[in-house]
Structure formats: structure tokens, C-alpha cells
């Protein structure tokens, strides 16, 4: 370190070389020099204009190695201003060895969070420099030239790592780099092909416009997709993987022909990569997960190619290494997490895939993973479980014996927010009316836990708890309904239902309220007792008004319907509120059939109340079937509903479901005449 301050350039050079050879490969030595404040010293050397090029090469290589140390060193390197020097050193005309060393340093720095965006102000200068280096490949002779190829490869890798924002993707794509990358892809040098594929996938990641542009790329009569699909078949695992990633990103375009190619080429290629000894399978697993996202056909192809079995085999191998020495357990944890996430994606929509996962004992691994010390694994296991138990038959048959309830309920109270979110989301699917575990969960104090979760500061946890309450209220006995009403509290559900700009919470609070008042007078009475008629009507007015969100409107209309259908007394409150009644009626002609059907049910329920028979009128006893005439015919008739319903029936494009409902409503208005 003292020699670095020497006025003798030979001593400085020699010291830098010694440090370089000490820190390369050694984290301990990197930490040691980091503590000795090597970064400011090196930054000062690079900032001086007259520093010898050989010293610069050694100093830059030291930076490159220090960048591998991690985020802390990277942050200090960024703050020290070395990035300016590195960029100057890749400018056209710079010494080629220095240029290569600087590219290496930038390539090592860029994966770190602090520099990803911290380098923004330099992007404008860097991109043309990098493009100029990449273009060297076009002019190079067909002979492999080590140094030129290394520079071109590194420039492509740096470029790919710059693509972390959409704006940068466009900036880089607009330089015409895609054509150059394509020509490199066809040159056949594996390292260059891998780097070019990385650049192309970074440019197209989640960017539909660039994906669209890539679809149109054609080199010597061959389309981009054909060229990359050929590379996906490569025997070289890295090339195959990077090509698969490129195609995966294009899959978001949902183009029929490409999706077929993905099923025929990419999925089998990825399965093959899972089996390559010594190959890091984590990227392959992640890639499979990405590819299968929301595409039932690809999920099915993955199942048929043996992906589910292969993923579960990986879990089995890792489990067998759990207590073994000499195993990189951290890496195993990352793989397990990746496997659960990929498996979750594959089973998210396809029933056959879920069935296969269960046949291969996925539930056993998931239950055990819920007790894993790593929060990421626990959260991923919950997510995967959530998708598997979307299946009614699995929920009925395999889940009750899986032993999943106890660990899942424990995770509802986990200290990690992500775990709580995914565990509570999974719970939602266990509380459907057909789930045998619902009764066990209630016995284990589920309602108390849900009441606590509703107080969570985390909105996602709160949403999931509301959703669970909503599901729990379907087809339950009166005692449980009373317990829920008492512990969850109507006031709480009302308060959330009235929250402005929180549609995702409002939706489930209203859904829960809708179910509280469904099927039983107990719930209706509890709501009116707790809130009073005026506040109930005020809430209904608020949620069914024209500018409310569609989902909220639907829940509001069904809430009104459930109140109206069961209790004439409370139906009266709805009918007597002109504003509310008019809002409901206005929705029967809604462009959304869902809203229209909900409004028509409301009208149907209101119209279903009959005038009491004379004797009953005198004794003021409520009756639905007291006489043939509709109690609210005058009110409803005054709003011109009959004419509206008749006009709707004349509309040729009216959906069958709405038409059915319209006819049913119209029966009430036509009944006296018939």
C-alpha cells in the first residue's frame, strides 16, 4: 500500500501487480485491501492524466477484481469516481489491453444494485463507445483473435447489463445494435454467441415493442426466431440456455407459431439442461417458470416433457443433502426456492399439471418446506401450495391428509411480511365451502387469527384475511356466522368497505359483507343493528353509484340484493331511498353484463315481496307470499322498468344470461295481466 504512493512508477506498477495477484479469487484478501482504503488510492491514480498505461491496466484490473467483492465495494467505487476513468479508457483510440481491462471492470461492477441506476449519467457516453467496440467484430477477419474477441464479448455483456430500464432498452436498440448482434450470432464463436444472446435477451426483456421488432429481423432469409431456435438446440449448454431465454421473452407476444415452437423445442431443451451434470440449474428453473407463466399449453408441454418430475427430483436430491457437510447449502436454498416458484407457475392454471405434481408427492415437500428456516423458501412453498390447491378435487382428496393446515396456520403469524402474505393468500383457497379442512381450521382458532390479520399494517395481508372471511361465510351454520360477526366485527368490514382508493381491499370487505347477509337473517339483523339503517343505505349508495369501480358495483348490488330478498323490513329501507333505487335501476342497462345481472337480481328480489293479505296487513306480519300483487309495483313502475326491460328484450345483441334475467324480472310486471 505504501508503494502505491511512491514517486517511482516501477514500484507503483510492481505493487499493483502484487495486489492484483493477491486479491483475484480471494475474498479475504479483497476485504483486507478494502479495509486498507485501496479504492481512494486507485481512484487517485486513475484520475491523474499522466498515469502510465501499464499502471492503468494493473489498477483497472484491481478495480475489476474488487467489484466481485460485492455491493459495499461497488458503492465505494462508484462514489470514488472511478467510473469516469473507466469510461474514458474504453473510448475509441484507447490502448487495447487497457480497453479490455476497463470493460472487464464495468462488466463486474454493473450487476450491483448501486451502480445499475447510479451509472445513468454515463449511459449516453458509454453506449456509442461500446457500439464502436462491438462493430470491430464486423470488420475482424474470420480468424479467431483472442484480444479482439474478448473486447467484443465484454462490450456486449456490458451493454446487456445496462438494459435495466425501458428507456435504456430503447436507447440501445435505436443505435442499430441488433443488426450487429445478429451478424455476431452467426459467426459461430461460442463466447460471442452467448454474449450476443445475453444482449438480445436483455434488450427484449418485458419490452413488447422491441420483441415485435425482433420478430421482423431477417438475416440472409432467416428469421430471428429461426436463428435463435437453432441455437436453443445447441449441444453447448450455455448457448442453449441463453437462446431459450431469448425465446422465452418473445413468448410474451403470444404468437401462435412461436408458442408451438416453444413447446416443441424450447421446453425439451430446458429439460435437457436440467439434467446436464455440473450445470447451474437455477437459471434453467427460473427460465421454465418464466416460460410457463399464464400459458396453459406451455404448462402442459412442460408436464409432458417431464419438468414436474424433474423439479421434484431436484427437491429430493437437495433434501438428502440437508444435513451433509461439504455442500453449498446457500445455493441449495436458492434452488429450492426457484423450484417451488417454477412449480407453482406450472400448476397455476392447468389441472393435469396439479394432479401430476400431487402424484409426484409435491405436497409432502411443500409441507416440510413450510418449516424451513429460510423465509424465501417458506414463501415460495406457500405460493406453490396456493396454486396446487386451486384444484377442487385435490383440495377435497389429497390436501386433508397432507398435514398442511398446522404449518400453514403457523405461518399466518410469521414475522416475515412476505411469508405472511403468501401464507394468507394460500389460506383463502383452503376455506372454500368444499374444503374439508375448513372445519379443522375453525377448531384451531382461525377466526381469532383472521381478526388479528385484519389489523395488519400490510394491505396484502389484510386483503387476504378479508378474502378468507368472505370464503368462510359461504354455506356455514348459524353459530359460526355469529362467531365471525362477533370477532371480525361488522364495523370493521364497513370501515374498509368505505375506504377511498383502496379497491382491492374494498372489494373483499364488500364481498365479506355480502356473504354476511346471505342465506340468513342473522347477518342482516347484525348489520343493521351494528350500523343502523341510515349508514347501511349510505354505504350502498356510495358503492353502486355510476362512477364506482365495476367490481365494487357488482358486490354492492349483490349486497343490496341479499338484504332485499330475505327481509321485507330491510328491503323497505332500500326501496324508500330514491337515490339508491334509481342507481340500482340505472345499472340494468349497463354495458357490463355482470353489473346488469346483479342489478336485475336486485329488481327481482325487490319485486318478489308481495302485498300482505288483509288479515296479515292488520296484524302487520311480514309475508312474502301474502298475495299475488307486488308490494313495490308502484315504485318500480314509476321508474319505467317494465318499458326498459321490454326494450332490452328487443336488443339482438343482448347476452343470453342477461336476457334470461330480464325475462325473469319482467314476469313480475306481467303477472297481474296474465
Amino acid at each position: 500500500m505504501r508503494s502505491l504512493q511512491s514517486p517511482d512508477p516501477v514500484q507503483v506498477y510492481s505493487a499493483l501487480r502484487t495486489i492484483k495477484n493477491a486479491i483475484i479469487g480471494s475474498t479475504t484478501k479483497k476485504s483486507l485491501y478494502f479495509k486498507l482504503q485501496i479504492i481512494p488510492t486507485i481512484a487517485a491514480l486513475l484520475a491523474m492524466e499522466d498515469t502510465d498505461v501499464q499502471i492503468r491496466i494493473q489498477a483497472t484490473t484491481v478495480i475489476s477484481s474488487l467489484a466481485h467483492k460485492g455491493e459495499e465495494a461497488t458503492k465505494q467505487l462508484l462514489d470514488s469516481g472511478v467510473v469516469d476513468a473507466l469510461i474514458n479508457q474504453i473510448a475509441p483510440g484507447a490502448d487495447h489491453v487497457l480497453m479490455e481491462a476497463s470493460e472487464r471492470a464495468l462488466n463486474a461492477l454493473l450487476p450491483h444494485e448501486s451502480i445499475k441506476l447510479g451509472i445513468e449519467k454515463h449511459v449516453g457516453l458509454m453506449v456509442p463507445y461500446l457500439l464502436s467496440i462491438i462493430s470491430e467484430a464486423k470488420d475482424a477477419s474470420r480468424v479467431y483473435e483472442m484480444r479482439t474477441h474478448a473486447r467484443v464479448e465484454l462490450a456486449m455483456l456490458v451493454l446487456s447489463k445496462l438494459c435495466v430500464t425501458e428507456a435504456r432498452q430503447y436507447t440501445i436498440a435505436n443505435t442499430g445494435v441488433i443488426d450487429v448482434l445478429m451478424s455476431i450470432l452467426l459467426r459461430g464463436y461460442p463466447r460471442l454467441q452467448i454474449a450476443a444472446l445475453k444482449a438480445l435477451s436483455a434488450l427484449s426483456y418485458e419490452n413488447m415493442e422491441i420483441c415485435g421488432a425482433l420478430f421482423l429481423v431477417n438475416v440472409k432469409g432467416r428469421a430471428y426466431t429461426d436463428i435463435v431456435l437453432d441455437l436453443a438446440r445447441s449441444l453447448e449448454p450455455d448457448i442453449s440456455l441463453q437462446a431459450c431465454l431469448c425465446i422465452s421473452y418473445l413468448s410474451r407476444m403470444r404468437t401462435g407459431d412461436l408458442l408451438k415452437e416453444i413447446q416443441a423445442v424450447v421446453v425439451p431443451a430446458l429439460v435437457k439442461l436440467l439434467k446436464v451434470p455440473g450445470f447451474d440449474t437455477l437459471l434453467v428453473v427460473n427460465s421454465l417458470g418464466y416460460l410457463c407463466h399464464e400459458d396453459a399449453d406451455i404448462q402442459s408441454a412442460a408436464k409432458n416433457a417431464g419438468v414436474i418430475a424433474e423439479l421434484i427430483k431436484m427437491l429430493s436430491v437437495i433434501e438428502s443433502q440437508e444435513n451433509a457437510d461439504f455442500v453449498d447449502q446457500e445455493h441449495n436454498v436458492r434452488v429450492v426456492k426457484g423450484v417451488f416458484l417454477a412449480l407453482g407457475t406450472i400448476v397455476s392454471t392447468n389441472e393435469e399439471c396439479r394432479r401430476k405434481a400431487v402424484e409426484d408427492k409435491a405436497l409432502e415437500y411443500l409441507v416440510r418446506a413450510m418449516g424451513h428456516p429460510d423465509n424465501g423458501v417458506k414463501a415460495a412453498a406457500c405460493l406453490c401450495t396456493r396454486y396446487i390447491i386451486r384444484s377442487v378435487s385435490i383440495c377435497r382428496t389429497n390436501v386433508p391428509e397432507s398435514g398442511i393446515l398446522a404449518p400453514l396456520m403457523a405461518l399466518l403469524q410469521d414475522s416475515d411480511a412476505d411469508v405472511q402474505v403468501t401464507a394468507s393468500a394460500t389460506l383463502v383457497n383452503l376455506l372454500t365451502d368444499f374444503s374439508p379442512l375448513r372445519a379443522d381450521a375453525l377448531k384451531k382458532g382461525l377466526v381469532d387469527i383472521l381478526a388479528r390479520l385484519l389489523e395488519s399494517q400490510n394491505n396484502m395481508v389484510c386483503r387476504n384475511a378479508l378474502w378468507s372471511v368472505r370464503n368462510l361465510l359461504v354455506s356455514i351454520d348459524d353459530d359460526t356466522r355469529r362467531e365471525i360477526i362477533e370477532k371480525i366485527r361488522i364495523e370493521k368490514l364497513f370501515a374498509i368497505s368505505s375506504l377511498p382508493h383502496q379497491t382491492f381491499l374494498q372489494e373483499h370487505a364488500l364481498g365479506a359483507l355480502r356473504n354476511v347477509v346471505a342465506d340468513s337473517l342473522i347477518g342482516i339483523q347484525a348489520v343493521f343493528d351494528a350500523m343502523g339503517s341510515a349508514r347501511v343505505i349510505e354505504l350502498l349508495r356510495q358503492v353502486v353509484r355510476a362512477d364506482a369501480d365495476m367490481v365494487i358495483k357488482v358486490h354492492g348490488l349483490y349486497l343490496a340484493n341479499n338484504i332485499a330478498v330475505r327481509s321485507q323490513e330491510h328491503c323497505e329501507s332500500i326501496v324508500c331511498d330514491e337515490e339508491l333505487l334509481q342507481a340500482i335501476v340505472s345499472h340494468i342497462t349497463s354495458a357490463s353484463s355482470e353489473v346488469a345481472i346483479a342489478a336485475l337480481w336486485c329488481i327481482d328480489s325487490i319485486a318478489s315481496h308481495r302485498m300482505p293479505a288483509q288479515s296479515q296487513r292488520e296484524s302487520d306480519i311480514e309475508s312474502v307470499d301474502g298475495s299475488d300483487s307486488c308490494r313495490y309495483m308502484d315504485k318500480l313502475g314509476g321508474l319505467g322498468i317494465q318499458a326498459t326491460l321490454e326494450r332490452m328484450l328487443d336488443e339482438p345483441n343482448l347476452s343470453l344470461e342477461v336476457r334470461d334475467r330480464v325475462r325473469s324480472c319482467l314476469d313480475y310486471f306481467l303477472a297481474p295481466e296474465t
Binding site: I24, G25, T27, H68, A108, R142, V143, R191, F326, D328
Partner: protein, 250 residues
């Protein structure tokens, strides 16, 4: 009896037939030259590659200058001079050892072995504590190999009585050199292994498959590559050899 039946059901192909069939397969001389050039480059025979290029007119797709550096590194490992090898690798491509902890560990392990071989037990111990142990902590999957190497210290330097003598064998240096060479080749977009040995393996496998179906002129000695006729001897001679009865009758 079964052997005889099986043998008799095999197709017999004469040397003439075989050679005539072989002559029908078009094999371009340039392909063979390319195969040889590939072997010379990957194995690092720079001078031979240059001479071969001159004589055969076969142009290399690789800058032959890059072979030189790779070979110097390989020789350094083969000579047990690991420090020089590491320095040269770092000059050539500093990312190789910074991104491949297993390879870095194997080079450090080889250096430790060299210290033990030289009888520098104290230096070896210090090196293991300072360099290898922290690396092993970071990469627990390498700890087993480290433990095994450290066990060498318990035996005499000559290693003849050591159950771990294999570590002191030249073959271990060669193994480390090969691993490093493969990494350097991969870093230079070159295949990790030449194509020729793989082709010879394919030849052996194909002959094994064919052996079950036919008696044909096969290559038994890969070095001489002579086609040897494998057909059974004429029937009478075979009968005499099998029973010995004929001889008695004579």
C-alpha cells in the same frame, strides 16, 4: 454350443469387401486436416500446428499466438510452478479465477501439494490457514478436498507410505493443468477437448456394436490403425481345433 450358433449367424465381411465399401464413403482431405489441426491447437502444439498449416495449406481459425500463452501456463502447472501459472492466467484474463472458485481452489490446492512435496511443512500449514481455509469456508463443497490435502501433512514428504499418494503423483499436476487448460480454452471460445479422441471413442463403441452382428476387418490397435480380418478360419480347420478328434484320427 450357443456361442457357435451365435457366431454362425453373424455376417462375414472380407477385407476386400470392407475396403471397397470404405472407399465409397466420401471423406474430404480437408476435413481430416481440420481434425488434425483441431487436435494440435487444443492440445497446444503450436509449432506442429504452424508446420502442419504450412504443409497442408490448412488455415487455422485460431490466432496461433494465443496457443503460446496457454501452453506456458500449462507447462508452469506441470512443473509445479503454480504461482507463475496463476500470475500468467491473471494477465491473460483476470476473470477466470475470480469467477471460478473451484478452479482457483484447485490451483491453490496444487500449490499446497507442491509445498508439502518440497517438505516445507511450516509454509504449507501457513498457506493452508491463510489462503485455503477461508476459501473453503466460503465454498463448503470444497472442504472435503481441502481436508484430504491437509491430511498429506501427516505423512512423510516422499508420500510413498501415504494413502493419499495420488495427490503427490504427477498425474495430479496433469489433472490440474488440464482443468486450467479447459477453462482457458472455454474463455477463448474453443472446445474444451479436441475432436479426435471423441472420434476414436466413437470408433471403439461402433466396433463393439458391430461385433455382435458381423465378423469384419476391425481396427484393434488404434496406433497402427491396421484393419485385421476377424472372420473365423475355414470350417474344417475350425472343427479340428474345436474337437481335437481329427488329429487323433490322423
Amino acid at each position: 454350443m450357443t456361442m457357435s450358433t451365435s457366431s454362425s449367424s453373424k455376417q462375414n465381411i472380407s477385407l476386400e469387401e470392407w475396403e471397397s465399401k470404405m472407399a465409397e464413403v466420401p471423406i474430404a482431405k480437408s476435413d481430416l486436416n481440420q481434425l488434425i489441426m483441431n487436435y494440435l491447437i487444443i492440445e497446444g502444439y503450436k509449432d506442429a500446428a504452424e508446420k502442419f498449416s504450412e504443409e497442408s495449406g490448412q488455415h487455422s481459425s485460431v490466432d496461433l499466438g494465443s496457443i503460446e500463452e496457454r501452453m506456458q501456463i500449462r507447462f508452469a502447472v506441470q512443473n509445479g510452478d503454480i504461482k507463475t501459472a496463476i500470475e500468467r492466467v491473471n494477465d491473460l484474463n483476470p476473470d477466470i479465477l475470480d469467477t471460478d472458485p473451484r478452479l482457483y481452489f484447485h490451483l491453490q490446492q496444487q500449490h499446497l501439494i507442491e509445498l508439502i512435496r518440497q517438505g516445507n511443512a511450516e509454509e504449507a500449514l501457513e498457506f493452508a490457514q491463510e489462503e485455503l481455509a477461508p476459501h473453503g469456508e466460503e465454498h463448503p463443497e470444497l472442504l472435503r478436498e481441502l481436508e484430504k490435502t491437509m491430511a498429506l501433512l501427516a505423512f512423510d514428504a516422499a508420500g510413498t507410505r501415504s494413502p493419499l499418494a495420488e495427490l503427490l503423483d504427477f498425474a495430479h499436476r496433469q489433472k490440474t493443468a488440464n482443468e486450467l487448460n479447459a477453462a482457458l480454452l472455454a474463455a477463448h471460445s474453443q472446445p474444451r477437448e479436441p475432436k479426435l479422441p471423441a472420434l476414436l471413442q466413437l470408433l471403439a463403441w461402433t466396433q463393439e456394436q458391430l461385433d455382435e452382428k458381423a465378423n469384419y476387418p476391425r481396427i484393434t490397435n488404434i496406433v497402427s490403425a491396421v484393419l485385421e480380418d476377424q472372420r473365423p478360419p475355414p470350417k474344417d480347420a475350425a472343427g479340428a481345433a474345436a474337437t481335437g478328434g481329427g488329429t487323433q484320427r490322423a
